[in-house]
Symmetry: C2
Subunit: 297 residues, 2 copies
């Protein structure tokens, strides 16, 4: 596997995305403080795994990944808003994220809530602004609807609610999967679906790409739980063992560490099977999948 190709791809599109995000917010005619709060958390971004999946999906379909810039920006805005709101004192009450003070620690709770609200709202406008040469109104509307489903009470917000309700009690593996499929899985899956829609996937390709993303999302979360036990705090950017000290149910806890590692490999293999079925140029997506399953942070 040639990770140099993925490295170059990642570097190029991460840069394009970050410049797009900066410009989009800069242009807003809004009180400076809210723009500053929006930029602060957008800039603090990490691996940009969702945008990367979107770009690589368009690439797999033989189209120009740049066609996905606005959709990628919208997805990253939604991801960022969810982190800002999750970090709030009444939610996870986190003071730091990726080594930086969280949004409400810098701007106060009220502005943090509003910055999240503004990012969420703006994401839909950004989808609407995709040029007609790139996507028809029908496709853009489908992107809006699917994004709302992935982010709302049937998706990410629902997962966050279930996660909060599941705290401090032992969950079944089905309950744990419900949380992960919704809290992180749906938006990750949407990133691939958006790429598929923008890249002109046919219905069978769309279905296989969705299934790929579904299993990849689970692999992502299992690896997250494994890292919480086996990771290095310096590399993770947060203390290890935070899940068990929070009494949160995790895969290693419910399945044992060996069982969790088996489950990770099973999900990864399943995701790759679906990818194979698309008959597309899947090199980059395959590499991203490997990266997700073997990452150390």
């Amino acid at each position: 596997m040639n990770t140099k190709v993925l490295d170059a791809f990642t570097q190029e599109y991460k840069q394009l995305l970050e410049s797009e995000l900066r410009t989009l917010v800069e242009k807003l005619k809004a009180p400076p403080i809210i723009k500053e709060a929006m930029q602060y958390s957008l800039k603090a971004g990490g691996k940009r795994i969702r945008p990367l999946l979107l770009f690589a999906t368009i690439n797999a379909l033989g189209k120009d990944p740049k066609d996905g810039l606005l959709a990628a920006a919208a997805i990253e805005m939604i991801h960022t808003y969810s982190l800002i709101h999750d970090d709030l004192p009444s939610m996870d009450n986190d003071d730091f994220r990726r080594g930086m003070p969280t949004n409400h620690k810098v701007f106060g709770e009220a502005i943090a809530i509003l910055a999240g609200d503004a990012l969420l709202t703006f994401s839909f406008e950004v989808i609407g602004q995709i040029p007609n040469e790139i996507a028809s109104s029908e496709i853009k509307l489908q992107l809006v609807i699917e994004m709302a489903k992935a982010a709302g009470s049937e998706g990410m917000v629902g997962g966050q609610v279930a996660d909060m309700e599941g705290e401090e009690k032992t969950l079944t593996i089905e309950e744990l999967e419900y949380i992960h499929i919704h809290k992180t899985g749906k938006l990750l899956k949407y990133s691939v679906i958006a790429g598929a829609l923008l890249g002109g996937a046919n219905p069978s390709q769309l279905e296989n790409l969705s299934a790929f993303a579904h299993h990849l999302g689970l692999a992502f979360q299992i690896q997250d739980d494994i890292l919480d036990v086996e990771g290095t705090p310096e590399v993770l950017g947060k203390p290890v063992g935070s899940d068990s000290s929070n009494l949160k149910s995790t895969y290693p806890q419910l399945l044992s560490m060996d069982g969790a590692k088996d489950a990770l490999q099973t999900q990864l293999a399943q995701s790759k099977q679906y990818l194979e079925k698309t008959g597309l140029n899947i090199n980059l997506l395959n590499e991203i999948a490997d990266l997700i399953a073997s990452r150390d942070h």
Copy 2:
């Protein structure tokens, strides 16, 4: 003026709207607690002035107001989410709204924040779900974009930020207008614009209807400030004088009470001039404008 016609219209469409809101949330496949929190605040709705403006605008254009049901539901979801978030302890810290405990007093802060997020997100999906027989994909996309602009950092959220920043200092009349145009005016204006787009207004009608709504939004807010001084607490459902005890700048304070009443009449007259120019069947809209300017709560 025949207010019986407006009363009957209001009653009919308020009922249809409330049933639509209930059904839309009922159908969501989401954790029960978040649906309950969404329903709680949607049900607590007041005058439903924004949906009413939307329905009456479609009516003025000679189309079936029922075509606006989903758009009206979306607007009311956005209005409701904004109230839930505004009431939070870190924002206005209100325990009661319209005589009922606020969302976070019943469900806790975390669920209140998430219920707001879920309503905002769902509103865009609901616009996307307007049947093609009612609106083309192009119109629906325009509805999405305009709604995001009206609700986001360039609209309502921006107004809320400016409002918070303006607390405890004396504002100029321009600063006060900025707050009101953004915090309440933009979504009120959007309600009319959405009705115009759904009712098939031509560009000149759209422009005049927008200007009507702009001035009506200001009239609405001036009356709000007047009521805060002259209203009856029992009718208002909140104590009078809360603005001056909060040291908030208001129209009566900046313009004197007589000046504020003059300004109200000026805005109302301007709004009606634009309405006249549309050449449409404006009876209902005219009555709604009078109602807004003379309401006692």
